[in-house]
């Protein structure tokens, strides 16, 4: 039991909720920026799970993993935003359905 008295299951439910929100947003939204933010949401939902479980079990592994996820998220944000910028420059559009030239 955590010091503030918030039970572990609450954290997990919150994380699951955030993750589902992100996944649903990724699938249903069409704006690339929005989808990008949904990815960040999913990553942070997973981070929350890691941290909560690390705290609960008094082990450091989850915290280390959370840092890794943050680093990956930062790198991903840099690369991802650069790609988005280039796509926008070239197509003057941020609609994901219009970006499918790799199909052929």
């Amino acid at each position: 039991m955590s010091p503030a008295g918030v039970p572990l299951s609450w954290y997990l439910v919150l994380a699951a909720f955030l993750f589902t929100l992100g996944a649903a947003g990724f699938v249903f939204r069409r704006n690339i920026i929005t989808m990008f933010m949904c990815i960040e949401l999913m990553l942070n939902a997973v981070n929350l799970t890691f941290v909560a479980l690390a705290y609960h079990t008094h082990q450091v592994d989850g915290l280390v993993l959370a840092f890794f996820v943050m680093v990956v998220a930062a790198a991903e944000a840099a690369v991802g935003l650069a790609i988005i910028l280039t796509v926008f420059r070239n197509r003057a559009s941020l609609q994901i359905d219009e970006v499918q030239s790799l199909r052929d």
Partner: protein, 614 residues
């Protein structure tokens, strides 16, 4: 004794000329090629002198070539009296022909290539005659066939030359098919391919009365010999082989390679003597070939073709000699034939070199322009005709006498052939050298580099028969009945002289008689003139069916239908599968995300179910 040096010199010459001959001056190419063969010749002499009198075979084992189970096939060379004779013929006559080639090929392109091939041929031929087991013999056997192919097709820009080269190679494949089957059979029955143990095992066996394994082996080996030595039914490649340069015809297609079959039969005498049926077949094929080819030789007008049919005919004599049990006489004839037939071809080459013409009808009257060629050719002609005390006389009469004691009718057929031989050889010489010039302006005698070999060969053609070859070889073969009936000798010599006289009558004394006789004979003359239509019959009976079968069956059904069909079918299936699979690849990022989600749901579900089961 370093036997391996004998074939090694020409191999080195081949490598040198083949690799750097192209960028080297002719003098270098000459020095390498002639030097290699001369070294080989001298080393042969030294070896034979050291091993004299060669009562037993001298065997040298160098390394194991194939080791499989208890079978060892080694790179083993051996010299005995039989291979000694062959070595002298191959290196001696080969050396003279190499020297002659300097003059003959002087103005030809691919000079270095010619000599490289010629040296390669010498290497394989020497391997063939010194091999101490059947497999190494087969290596030499195939190697000389390869060189024959390369040299017949030397002028590869002429389609007739490449066709002739292909024909020679393919016809020899048929023979070699039989030959290799014979070798397999030898291995199956004797579990060895070395000459000494195989022949020792053979002589333990009883003489076969019917068709036994030895008869089968003998007949299969004979198939190989008929291919290599141009006997019926596989002789058809040799006349076409005249497309090659004339020194090649002299060396490969007269003096050495084509005699490999005779050598092989003599080498396997133990097998043939225990298989009388196979031996009789050798005799009959030899005799039939001798007569058959001689009749064709009478009607040909291409000087090289005349001598080509003459070669086939004389090889028939050698087979006849071996077939009636007189192996020594067969090899003796091989020895003398090497001199006079090489000389005939080199003389013909000298004429061709002088005129640039091979058709006898366009020659005539060359005697004053090319006296050395004329007189040396006469020496060869009297020798091949069996004029007494020339080389051909001794060997031919020994064969004919042995044939008489085997079956008198063989003697008579052989004697008729001897008359025909004298007739066609002198016909060619009279047509070329006597009478009036028929259509040529300029002719010149060949340079000394060509005439000196001619003179040396002429001397050998006249006196080479004094070498007691068959007495030298006698210990190698069981004795056979050889009579000394004077009247038979007189008759066969008479046949030869009659042939010469008839040629004189037809082509010198009464010009025009030949044409009138040909016209009177009509259909018969046409039949012989067209070589009994054998090429056409083979074309219709073998070549065309094979081509048609290849076209309609192998090409259109097997190749297009089966092989192409299988490959194209696989390709089409792959395309169809890809067509289905590519629908997943929509390019729509959100659908990919949906698939990922679905996948992870399914994984979770599976994990949950598996966990639940646990």
């Amino acid at each position: 004794m370093l036997l391996w040096l004998i074939p090694a010199f020409p191999l080195l010459g081949f490598l040198l000329n083949g690799v750097i001959g192209r960028r080297s001056p002719k003098s270098f190419v000459n020095a390498v090629a002639i030097g290699a063969v001369a070294a080989s010749f001298l080393w042969t002499l030294k070896t034979l002198a050291a091993l004299w009198p060669l009562d037993t075979a001298h065997l040298e084992q160098y390394f194991t070539w194939i080791q499989a189970g208890d079978v060892r096939i080694g790179f083993d060379l051996a010299v005995d009296r039989l291979s000694a004779v062959m070595l002298l013929v191959v290196t001696g006559v080969g050396l003279l022909i190499h020297i002659y080639s300097i003059g003959y090929m002087a103005h030809e392109g691919g000079y270095y290539r010619f000599f490289a091939y010629l040296n390669l041929f010498m290497f394989f031929m020497l391997t063939l005659v010194m091999a101490a087991n059947f497999l190494l013999l087969f290596v030499g056997w195939e190697g000389v066939g390869l060189c024959s192919y390369l040299l017949i097709g030397f002028w590869f820009l002429r389609s007739s030359a490449t066709n002739a080269a292909n024909k020679a190679f393919i016809v020899n494949r048929i023979g070699d098919f039989g030959f290799s089957l014979g070798i397999y059979l030898i291995y199956i029955h004797f579990r060895s391919l070395d000459f000494a143990p195989v022949f020792a095992a053979v002589s333990e066996r009883p003489v076969e009365s019917g068709v036994g394994p030895l008869t089968l082996i003998g007949l299969l080996l004979l198939v190989g010999a008929t291919g290599k030595s141009a006997q019926i039914p596989l002789y058809v490649w040799l006349p076409d082989a005249m497309e090659g340069p004339t020194p090649v015809s002299a060396l490969i297609h007269a003096a050495t390679m084509v005699t490999a079959g005779v050598y092989m039969v003599a080498r396997c005498s133990a097998i043939y003597l225990h298989a009388p049926l196979a031996l009789e077949t050798v005799a009959v094929i030899g005799l039939a070939t001798a007569l058959f080819a001689a009749t064709i030789g009478v009607t040909q007008f291409d000087i090289k073709k005349v001598f080509a049919y003459s070669t086939i005919s004389q090889l028939g004599y050698m087979f006849l000699g071996a077939g009636v049990g007189a192996f020594g006489a067969g090899i003796y004839h091989l020895w003398t034939h090497a001199f006079f037939k090489a000389l005939l071809f080199l003389g013909a080459g000298s004429v061709i070199h002088a005129l640039g013409e091979q058709d006898l009808r366009k020659m005539g009257g060359l005697r004053h322009k090319t006296p050395i060629t004329f007189w040396t050719l006469v020496a060869a002609a009297v020798s091949i005709s069996g004029v007494p005390f020339t080389a051909g006389f001794f060997s031919k009469d020994e064969i004919l006498l042995a044939a008489y004691h085997h079956a008198p009718w063989m003697y008579w057929v052989g004697t008729i052939t001897a008359g025909l031989t004298a007739f066609y050889v002198f016909r060619a010489i009279f047509l070329a050298f006597l009478g009036e010039p028929r259509g040529w302006q300029h002719a010149h005698e060949s340079p000394p580099v060509m005439t000196v070999p001619l003179i040396l060969l002429a001397i050998l053609s006249l006196v080479g028969g004094l070498a007691p070859v068959s007495r030298f070889l006698a210990p190698m073969f069981p004795p056979h009945e050889a009579g000394h009936e004077m009247h038979l000798v007189v008759i066969s010599v008479g046949a030869g002289l009659a042939g010469i006289a008839l040629a004189w009558l037809f082509y010198v004394a009464r010009p025009g008689l030949a044409e009138r006789t040909a016209a009177r004979l009509g259909a018969l003359y046409q039949l012989v003139y067209n070589k009994y239509f054998v090429d056409e019959i083979y074309q219709a009976a073998v070549v065309q069916p094979v081509i048609r079968g290849a076209r309609s069956m192998l090409w259109q059904k097997v190749d297009v239908g089966l092989i192409d069909g299988a490959v194209n079918g696989l390709g089409a299936r792959a395309c169809a599968a890809g067509d289905v699979l590519r629908r997943i690849q929509s390019g729509n990022l959100r659908s990919y995300a949906a698939w990922v989600l679905l996948g992870s749901f399914l994984l979770l579900l599976a994990a949950g179910l598996a966990g639940g089961a646990r």
